[in-house]
C-alpha cells in the first residue's frame, strides 16, 4: 500500500499532457541568474557607455547629446596619464606577486620541513578584506609613526622619515607594495598546484642525464607550467587593471592624481565630480582596452581546453 501510493503520484507528474522540453526547462533554471546579470551588469554597463555621448549630471535631471565631445575631452586630457598610471600599477601588481609567489611555490615544493604550516600562514594576506590591507599599510607607511620609516632609517636607506603616501614620487610604489602583499598568496597557491602536477619522472630522468637544478627549472618546470603561468599572469593583469579598493582607501588617487587609475578616475568623476558624461567617456575607453584583454583571455582558455 505505502509503496504504490508515491509511485502512482510520480507517474502522474511525468505523464502530464504538456511537458516542457529540456531546453525550455533548462532556460527556466537559468532565468533567475540571467535576470540578475542583465539587471545588475549588462543594463548598467550599456547605459554607462551610452552616457559617454551625453552631457549628464549625477544630481541634476535631463541630459544633452554632445556626440564625441566627452571622449575627445578625455583623449586630449587625462587619458595618457591615466593609461600610463594604470599600466604601471597593473604591471607592478602582476609581476611582483608572480615573482614572490613563484619563489615560494618552488621553495615549498621541495618539501622543506613545515611546508604545510608555512603555506597556510602565507595565505593570511590574501584572506583579509581589501580595506584591512589598506588600513594596515596606511599605518605602516604613516609619515610620523610608521614602521616603514623606522625600518628604512634603521638600515640607513633613508635619512629622514618620508610621507610615503603623500608624495607623488613614492605614492604609486607604496600602493603597488600593498597590493603585492595581498596578491602573492593566490599566485603561490596556483603555481604550487601546477608544480605538483609536473611528473617526477621527468626530473629524475633529466638528473640522471646530468641536468643541474637551474637547467631542469628552465627545461622542465617552466615548459610544463606554461599553461598555468600564462593563466595566472593574464587573470591577475585583468583584475588589477580594474582594481579599486586598495588604491581608493590608501590614497584616493592622490597625491596630485599620481595614483589615479581608470577605476578611481571613473569613480571620482561620477560620484565626487557628478559628471556622468565624462565618467562614461573614461569608462568607454577603459572598456575597449579591457575587452581586448578579455578576448586574449578567452582565446587562451579555449586553447587550454583543446590541450
Amino acid at each position: 500500500m505505502t509503496t504504490t501510493a508515491p509511485s502512482s503520484q510520480l507517474s502522474t507528474t511525468s505523464n502530464k499532457p504538456k511537458r516542457l522540453s529540456d531546453g525550455v526547462f533548462a532556460f527556466l533554471l537559468v532565468l533567475p541568474g540571467l535576470a540578475l546579470l542583465l539587471a545588475v551588469v549588462v543594463y548598467p554597463l550599456i547605459t554607462a557607455l551610452v552616457t559617454a555621448f551625453f552631457k549628464q549630471s549625477l544630481v541634476l535631471p535631463g541630459r544633452e547629446f554632445v556626440g564625441f565631445q566627452n571622449i575627445i575631452d578625455v583623449l586630449t586630457g587625462e587619458f595618457s596619464r591615466l593609461l600610463w598610471q594604470t599600466l604601471v600599477f597593473t604591471i607592478g601588481t602582476t609581476l611582483f606577486p608572480f615573482v614572490i609567489g613563484f619563489a615560494l611555490a618552488l621553495a615549498l615544493n621541495t618539501r622543506i620541513r613545515g611546508a604545510k604550516v608555512l603555506r597556510g600562514l602565507m595565505l593570511i594576506p590574501w584572506l583579509v578584506p581589501g580595506v584591512v590591507v589598506s588600513f594596515l599599510w596606511m599605518w605602516i607607511f604613516n609619515a610620523n609613526y610608521g614602521v616603514m620609516n623606522a625600518l628604512l632609517e634603521g638600515i640607513g636607506l633613508i635619512d629622514q622619515p618620508q610621507a610615503w603616501l603623500a608624495q607623488p614620487a613614492t605614492a604609486m610604489g607604496a600602493v603597488i607594495l600593498a597590493k603585492t602583499w595581498q596578491s602573492f598568496p593566490w599566485m603561490m597557491v596556483m603555481l604550487l598546484a601546477g608544480l605538483q602536477t609536473v611528473p617526477r619522472e621527468l626530473h629524475e630522468a633529466a638528473e640522471i642525464d646530468g641536468a643541474g637544478t637551474i637547467r631542469r627549472f628552465f627545461s622542465i618546470t617552466v615548459p610544463q607550467l606554461k599553461g598555468i603561468i600564462g593563466l595566472v599572469l593574464l587573470l591577475e593583469f585583468i583584475w588589477n587593471f580594474q582594481h579599486f579598493d586598495i588604491i581608493y582607501v590608501l590614497t584616493g588617487g592622490g597625491p596630485a592624481g599620481s595614483t589615479q587609475t581608470f577605476a578611481t578616475a571613473v569613480y571620482e568623476t561620477a560620484f565626487h565630480g557628478f559628471d556622468l558624461g565624462h565618467a562614461g567617456a573614461i569608462g568607454l575607453l577603459w572598456m575597449v582596452l579591457l575587452m581586448a584583454l578579455v578576448v586574449v583571455y578567452v582565446r587562451f582558455s579555449e586553447k587550454g581546453e583543446e590541450r
Binding site: 511525468s14 637544478t213 579599486f244
Partner: protein, 316 residues
C-alpha cells in the same frame, strides 16, 4: 566506489584532478617515497638553502605586517604615537578591543554586514544551483554562449557599472536598502558559485538521474531530492564563498548604502580614515575582528580552495 576498477586508466590524470579538487598536499602524498631513492631535489644542500632563503625573505614580507597589525591592536593608546615605534608593546592592553565592542555605530555596521552577507549567501546558492545544474546536465543551443557570458560578467569593471547602477537603484527607490546590496553582491558571486556547483553536478553520474527519471520523478524533483542533497558540501562551499564576497565588498556598500545601512568595510573607512589623528590601535583591532569570519570560512573550505578558484578560470 566503482572507481577501483577504472584505476589503471584513471591514474595518469588523477594527480591533476586531485590537485584541482582537494588542495595541494594530496598529490605529494600520493608519490611513494621508498621507490625513489636518489632523485629528490630537496636533498641537495644548495637547493635546500635557496628554498629556506626564499621562505625567510618572502615569509617576512608576508607575516611581519600581520605581526604589526596584532601588536598595534594590543598597544596602549598613549604608546602608539611614538617614533621610532615600539616593536614590542611594553604592556598588553585590551582597551582598543573594549572601545570597539562598546561603540554603537560599529555595532550597527557589524549587524548590517551579517544580515547582508547571510542573505547574499542563501540567495546566491539558490540561484547558482539552478544555473549550474542547467549548465551541467542539459544540452541545448546557446549553452556555451550563456556559460561564457556568465564567466565574462566578472570581467566588467564595477566602478563603471556603478555610474548608472546608482541611478537605476535610485529610480526604484532602492538606494540605502539591504536589497540593493544583496542584489549586487549576489550577481557578482554568480560566476564563481555557478562554476563551483557545475563542477559538483558534473560528478553526479547521469545514470543516477536517468534511473530516477525512469522511476517517474519529475525534473524538479530530481534536482531537489537527488542532485542537491548529493552536492551538499558544494552548496556549503558556494555559500561560504558568497558570504565572504558580501562581507569583503567595499565599493558597492560605499556607494549604494548610506551610513545606517553600510557594512563594515566602508563603515570603518568612514569612522577612522580622514580624521586628524587616527585611533590606530582601535583600527587595527577592528581590522582583526573583520578578518576573523573570513579566516573561519576559509579554514572550513580549504579543500575547495584551488578547485573553486581555478574552476571558474579554466573550465569552459
Amino acid at each position: 566506489m566503482t572507481l577501483e576498477t577504472d584505476l589503471p586508466t584513471a591514474a595518469p590524470i588523477a594527480p591533476v584532478a586531485d590537485t584541482a579538487g582537494t588542495g595541494v598536499q594530496d598529490a605529494s602524498r600520493r608519490t611513494r617515497r621508498p621507490s625513489k631513492p636518489n632523485a629528490l631535489r630537496s636533498e641537495r644542500p644548495g637547493v635546500r638553502f635557496a628554498a629556506w632563503a626564499a621562505v625567510i625573505v618572502c615569509g617576512g614580507f608576508a607575516l611581519l605586517p600581520v605581526y604589526w597589525l596584532l601588536a598595534t591592536s594590543l598597544t596602549p593608546r598613549t604608546e602608539v604615537f611614538a617614533y621610532p615605534p615600539q616593536f614590542f608593546p611594553s604592556t598588553v592592553s585590551w582597551e582598543a578591543y573594549e572601545s570597539l565592542f562598546t561603540n554603537p555605530t560599529l555595532f550597527n555596521y557589524l549587524r548590517n554586514s551579517i544580515i547582508v552577507s547571510v542573505i547574499t549567501a542563501v540567495l546566491s546558492v539558490l540561484v547558482s544551483a539552478y544555473m549550474g545544474y542547467a549548465f551541467s546536465k542539459f544540452r541545448y543551443t546557446g549553452r556555451r554562449a550563456l556559460m561564457y557570458f556568465v564567466l565574462s560578467s566578472q570581467m566588467f569593471p564595477q566602478a563603471l557599472l556603478l555610474v548608472t547602477l546608482y541611478s537605476v537603484f535610485a529610480a526604484y527607490g532602492l538606494l540605502n536598502t539591504y536589497t540593493a546590496l544583496v542584489l549586487s553582491f549576489t550577481t557578482f558571486t554568480l560566476p564563481l558559485c555557478v562554476w563551483m556547483l557545475k563542477g559538483f553536478f558534473d560528478t553526479i553520474p547521469d545514470e543516477l538521474i536517468e534511473a530516477a527519471r525512469v522511476d517517474g520523478a519529475s525534473r524538479l524533483r530530481i534536482i531537489h531530492s537527488i542532485v542537491l542533497p548529493l552536492s551538499a558540501p558544494g552548496l556549503v562551499a558556494a555559500g561560504l564563498f558568497a558570504f565572504v564576497r558580501g562581507w569583503n565588498d567595499f565599493i558597492f556598500a560605499l556607494t549604494l548604502a548610506g551610513p545606517d545601512k553600510q557594512t563594515l568595510p566602508p563603515g570603518l573607512v568612514n569612522t577612522y580614515i580622514g580624521e586628524a589623528s587616527t585611533a590606530w590601535p582601535e583600527l587595527m583591532a577592528a581590522s582583526l575582528v573583520v578578518s576573523l569570519p573570513v579566516a573561519i570560512a576559509f579554514i572550513s573550505l580549504q579543500r575547495f580552495l584551488v578547485g573553486g578558484l581555478t574552476a571558474g578560470a579554466v573550465k569552459g
